[in-house]
């Protein structure tokens, strides 16, 4: 466990978490104050909770075990709890295995890294989405947990983030060179029809063009 000091758990940006994984770290731990235990009036731990829920969703979406991210609230006097939680988290991470390999990738992390990179690129958009559609007016743990574990959140996430995430991945993939629908599907673990759907809308926005000679897609 290597610690990085931030002034509030709410300062832990989605980008920081994703970046840590792109650096090959196997787990990320976010520690914050207990609810209602904020020494200030900030109560940024609610933001941390929302961020962690959103991040876990992204992780499952890109094939990264969401248990690699853990959030724990504790007071400054809970040294023993911190030690206990760290020990159990380290144990869990060891059981999950090294990044990628624990997810069944055999040594080649390039696809996972590409997906993480795509997610990182979405962070500015995710911040807007969080503010406009995913923010809860009441600061209560119950309200947060019930919203972020509800089918309503799942649906909103699919609607707002799901396709964007896939398109970002396709765009990153095509940066390296033109590919066919089947290639894209194979690399990203999507079905060809999903790929066509995303590529069609991407070409409508003008990001991607279809090279009819080679039956391949390329960045516009």
């Amino acid at each position: 466990m290597r610690l990085i000091r931030v002034m509030c758990s709410g300062r832990v940006d989605l980008e920081f978490i994703l970046r840590a994984f792109t650096k090959g770290l196997d787990g990320v731990f976010v520690g914050g104050c207990e609810f209602g235990g904020c020494n200030y009036i900030t109560h940024g731990n609610y933001d941390a909770l929302a961020n962690v829920y959103i991040c876990k969703k992204i992780m499952s979406r890109i094939g990264l075990n969401p248990d690699r991210l853990r959030l724990q609230f504790m007071s400054g006097a809970d040294g023993d709890l911190l030690a206990e939680v760290n020990d159990s988290f380290s144990k869990d991470i060891k059981a999950i295995g090294p990044l990628g390999r624990g997810e069944g990738e055999d040594g080649d992390l390039s696809t996972l890294m590409l997906k993480l990179e795509a997610a990182k690129l979405l962070v500015p958009y995710l911040r807007l989405v969080e503010r406009e559609r995913l923010r809860i007016p009441v600061k209560s743990e119950e309200a947060y947990v019930s919203f972020y574990t509800s089918p309503q959140f799942d649906a909103l996430f699919d609607e707002l983030v799901g396709s964007k995430l896939a398109m970002e991945q396709i765009a990153l993939l095509l940066k390296k060179g033109a590919l066919s629908t089947a290639d894209i599907a194979g690399k990203l673990g999507l079905t060809p029809s999903e790929v066509s759907k995303y590529v069609n809308s991407a070409s409508r926005y003008g990001f991607v063009k279809y090279d009819t000679d080679q039956s391949r897609y390329a960045l516009a």
Partner: protein
């Protein structure tokens, strides 16, 4: 003066003698540093020195490189002319050797709690290992005996309660279980006096640990077992009669005695002591002694815990200030720093200082290899080790090296920035570089302390931590702090005893005070209290205070006041008050919250249904009024802990035991034949109040203990003579019997609860509450009158229930802190605040909604509407950074770049690997 604290002389000194700092358990040298964090951290020579005794040796003189040994020094008499004196001579732990029954000093494994405290300490005799001196083995079964030297009327012992032993024992139990989880801990105790803030919870935590037994019984130390040197204790149990049990170690929880030479001290300063040997307290102002200009603070007022010591110290300081205000600043010398060099455009040149922290770090982490590793990191141009980086000479060394090696970033690998960051920032300023160029790598709390058993891994981790800090240091930027002017007025919320005392103390030093009271009269809860247990005439004192407040031309009182709005920040608040005087905006530099507490309205024990049932406060009022119905009663029953120490309110109201005993004594004085029963859970008459508890028992007041599992039952009924009474049924745990009491009057010790307006005021001044709903101070022990919010202070029962004397102490203490702020012309605001890059801002307002301090607003710029941060209001939490879609808002000192640099450095990136390889290659080339 020349000593650098290097410790060489200590190493070579041939004389070993028992070390008093470690309770004579381990040895020290004749020349030694008093203890490892002593200030100043220099060696001194004891009388056991061979040269001083026999003019021999002089080894120390020959090995000292700094020529700092002065063996011919003689005592000097210095005359100081002062205007005031504060006596804070503290206490002396009770010495149990004076009573043979404790077998202290005879049985080797009977130790005092002070001995045990040293055994637990990492700078203790066995470096934090708890060992028996008899065989150097870990004790697996330890007993604590409470009230040793306290609450006893035997010769040489003290009749009072020392007030701190219950909780320090619980701390020792928790730490023991931390050290060795399978140690069996047994505590032989009388009442558990968990009367302080959060103490009830702390006791519950200790009690819930596995293998911990709290036994309420009187133990006797019987014998030492030959050979094993284990100790046998005999004690009575309710179920099995008298038992004997063997323990590996017995800790005597010794109480607090008056300071050494207290009589001499009193004679020399011409002050009076009380019969216990502490200062003769003047209830109306406990900081005073019998001689004007001589003040008392801390435990010299009587046995006391840390928070009370801290606020009486502040209070005594403040009263000296009142006396000497006219000379304020006469002897002050302004500190001049060298001019700051502009280094913003220079490439980073990082210096790394790795601290041994005595043995705290170096006994686990290899400091030399960490230094060597640091030198291999990019942009590190210098690295060295230091014994204590925080010592004065080490700070000087850092300053010198910054200048000599032209460093422009400094990484100190030592402890948590929470303790010493300000000190090291100052060190950088001394060297003429911006203080924000400092980065601390915490290799103590985050590494050596938690990985003491894995030395190699700990060293590797320390290197990782240093590497991450070095990476972050690259991104540090020079920041400017703000000087904010301080408005010289203060505003006190609440016109009770605390608020008035505080207001008068502040006004006495020439400041205008606005005293805001929600009702139409001053006095608060104290108006309902006629006298204290100690006999102070509360009404007379309160009348005097109210008169002084009204007559003071510098105090403005606002009656029937409502606070509508609070704006601003430390030194510059504006509070909008609606009162009898209309609506006003009051500018002020500091705010003091003294809104007091309320009394719980019982819903149990027939309260409100039967007029013979009253609260203890109501009973006090009726006694003072000479209520005939009350005095006609033959039998009065009092029930303690009504509405607290339960699941709804998990705290002790602290004052009720004393209050009920006061009522009982008054009733006994008026009508000696009256039967009085006090049904209690623990009698918490801590400190000198214990004497009144004993007096009550001597006068025939019966104390019957009840447990929360088996509460007293109350119903209206008739006694054997057919008289209408209140039947109170309770199980006596000593006798194991149900007792039926026929009371004419029932008094309930109703809990003190947070005042109704607590939440509202908290919201206005942006301060926080503790789990029990009282205000939460900045630090429960060390900053008991301040809030974490700068410029806002607290005192009185708004903080936690407390006795009148304690309230007065705290009110003066808060005044002291306020006066410290108001005596400055300016305050400095942190440079680590947010700033908006206008070009990137899309004026979406995400940051504005994220900020709870209203520090961000839109402002028109030549580029259109942009977010703008008021640096004075920004607290630097950086929440807005995580919300801004364009990264336009930047929290300085914790920028994305700096944090990401640190994240990236958690793993060794190729560039670092390459550098290490290159360095190795270079080294190899040189050797060939």
């Amino acid at each position: 003066m020349d000593c650098t604290g290097c410790g060489t002389c200590v190493k070579y000194c041939p004389v070993e003698y028992p070390d008093p700092f470690n309770q004579n358990i381990s040895k020290n040298k004749a020349v030694h540093v008093y203890f490892s964090q002593a200030i100043p951290l220099v060696a001194y020579i004891d009388e056991t020195c061979l040269y001083l005794k026999e003019k021999k040796c002089l080894v120390c003189e020959s090995v000292c490189q700094a020529d700092a040994i002065r063996l011919n020094q003689s005592p000097e008499k210095v005359q100081l002319n002062v205007g005031a004196v504060i006596l804070s001579s503290g206490i002396k732990p009770f010495n149990p050797a004076v009573r043979s029954e404790y077998h202290y000093g005879v049985f080797e494994n009977v130790v005092t709690s002070m001995d045990y405290e040293r055994l637990l300490s990492s700078t203790g005799p066995y470096q934090g290992e708890v060992l028996r001196t008899s065989d150097q083995k870990h004790p697996k079964k330890i007993a604590w005996i409470q009230c040793v030297g306290s609450r006893r009327v035997t010769p040489e012992e003290n009749s009072y309660c020392s007030g701190v032993c219950c909780t320090y024992t619980q701390k020792q139990v928790i730490l023991t279980k931390d050290h060795e989880p399978d140690t069996e801990c047994t505590i032989f105790h009388n009442d558990i006096r968990a009367y302080g803030k959060d103490f009830e919870r702390y006791f519950q935590r200790a009690e819930a640990l596995p293998g911990v037994r709290f036994l309420r019984t009187y133990p006797t130390i019987v014998r030492e077992i030959e050979g094993s040197k284990d100790v046998v204790i005999r004690y009575a149990t309710t179920d099995d009669g008298v038992k004997e049990e063997t323990f590996d170690m017995v800790v005597l929880s010794v109480g607090l005695n008056p300071p050494l030479n207290n009589k001499e001290l009193a004679d020399r300063f011409g002050i009076t002591l009380n019969h216990h040997g502490f200062n003769q307290t003047i209830d109306e102002n406990p900081m005073l002694t019998s001689r004007p200009g001589v003040f008392a603070s801390g435990a010299f007022q009587g046995p006391t815990d840390i928070p009370e010591s801290v606020f009486t110290a502040s209070a005594a300081g403040s009263q000296c200030g009142t006396l000497l205000d006219y000379r304020r600043g006469d002897l002050a010398i302004e500190r001049v720093y060298p001019e700051e060099r502009d280094l913003a455009k220079q490439a980073p040149r990082i210096g790394v200082f790795v601290c041994h922290c005595g043995a705290n770090i170096s006994s686990v982490v290899s400091v030399p290899s960490s230094v060597e590793y640091s030198l291999s990191l990019p942009n590190v141009v210098y690295a060295q080790e230091q014994l204590f980086s925080c010592a004065t000479n080490s700070a000087q060394e850092i300053t010198d090296k910054i200048q000599e090696k032209k460093l422009n970033r400094v990484v100190i690998a030592a402890c948590s920035p929470r303790t010493l960051e300000p000190l090291f920032r100052d060190t950088l300023r001394e060297a003429g570089i911006n203080p924000y160029y400092l980065e601390m790598a915490n290799i103590r709390e985050h590494c050596s302390w938690v990985h003491s058993k894995q030395k190699e891994e700990a060293t590797a981790k320390a290197k990782d931590i240093i590497r991450m800090s070095v990476a972050r240091a690259n991104y540090l930027a020079p920041l400017k702090e703000f000087d904010l002017p301080v408005h010289k007025d203060a505003l006190v919320v609440g016109g009770g005893l605390a608020g008035m005392t505080c207001a008068l103390s502040i006004a006495a030093q020439g400041h205008t005070v606005h005293l805001v009271e929600k009702s139409d009269a001053l006095g608060g809860m104290a108006r309902r209290i006629h006298s204290t247990l100690e006999g102070m005439d509360v009404k007379a004192h309160l009348d005097g205070l109210i008169r002084d407040v009204y007559q003071n031309p510098q105090i403005y009182v606002y009656h029937n006041a409502d606070i509508l709005d609070v704006a601003g920040y430390v030194g510059n608040f504006v509070t909008t008050v609606k009162s009898d005087k209309g609506k006003q905006e009051i500018p002020h530099g500091a705010a003091i919250i003294a809104i007091g507490a309320d009394v719980y309205t019982p819903t149990e024990y027939l309260y409100g249904q039967d007029d013979r049932v009253m609260t203890h406060l109501e009973m006090g009022e009726r006694i003072a009024a000479g209520d005939e119905k009350l005095l006609a009663a033959d039998h009065v029953v009092m029930i303690q802990c009504v509405g607290c120490r339960n699941t709804d309110r998990n705290y002790c109201s602290r004052v009720c035991c004393g209050h009920s005993i006061k009522n009982a004594l008054k009733l006994k004085a008026a009508k000696p034949e009256m039967d009085i029963d006090i049904l209690f859970r623990d009698v918490r008459t801590y400190g000198f109040r214990e004497d009144y508890y004993r007096e009550a028992a001597d006068k025939g007041v019966r104390f019957i203990r009840w447990t929360p599992e088996d509460k007293p039952e109350v119903e209206a009924g008739v006694n054997e003579e057919g008289r209408e009474v209140i039947k109170v049924t309770v199980t006596d745990p000593v006798l194991g019997q149900r007792l039926e009491l026929s009371a004419d009057i029932l008094a309930l010790a109703a809990a003190m609860i947070p005042a109704e307006s607590t939440n509202e005021i908290a919201g206005l001044y942006k301060v926080t509450l503790s789990p029990d709903g009282f205000y939460k101070e900045a630090h429960v022990k060390l900053r008991p009158v301040e809030f974490a919010t700068d410029g806002v202070y607290l005192c009185g029962t708004a903080h936690y229930p407390k006795h009148i004397q304690e309230t007065i102490n705290q009110a003066y203490g808060a005044a002291g802190r306020v006066l410290t702020l108001l005596s400055h012309e300016t305050v400095v605001a942190s440079g680590a605040v947010c700033e908006v890059t206008d070009e990137n801002c899309i004026s979406c307002g995400a940051c504005i909604t994220a900020c709870t301090y209203d520090a961000i607003s839109f402002r028109e710029t030549p580029m259109g509407r942009k977010a703008w941060v008021n640096p004075v209001l920004c607290k630097g939490d950086g929440l807005c950074n995580a919300k801004c879609p364009t990264n336009a808002i930047v929290l300085k000192h914790f920028t994305n770049e700096a944090l990401q640099g640190q994240i990236d450095a958690t793993v060794i990136g190729p560039s670092i690997l390459e550098q290490i390889d290159a360095a190795a290659m270079e080294a190899a080339m040189e050797t060939h």
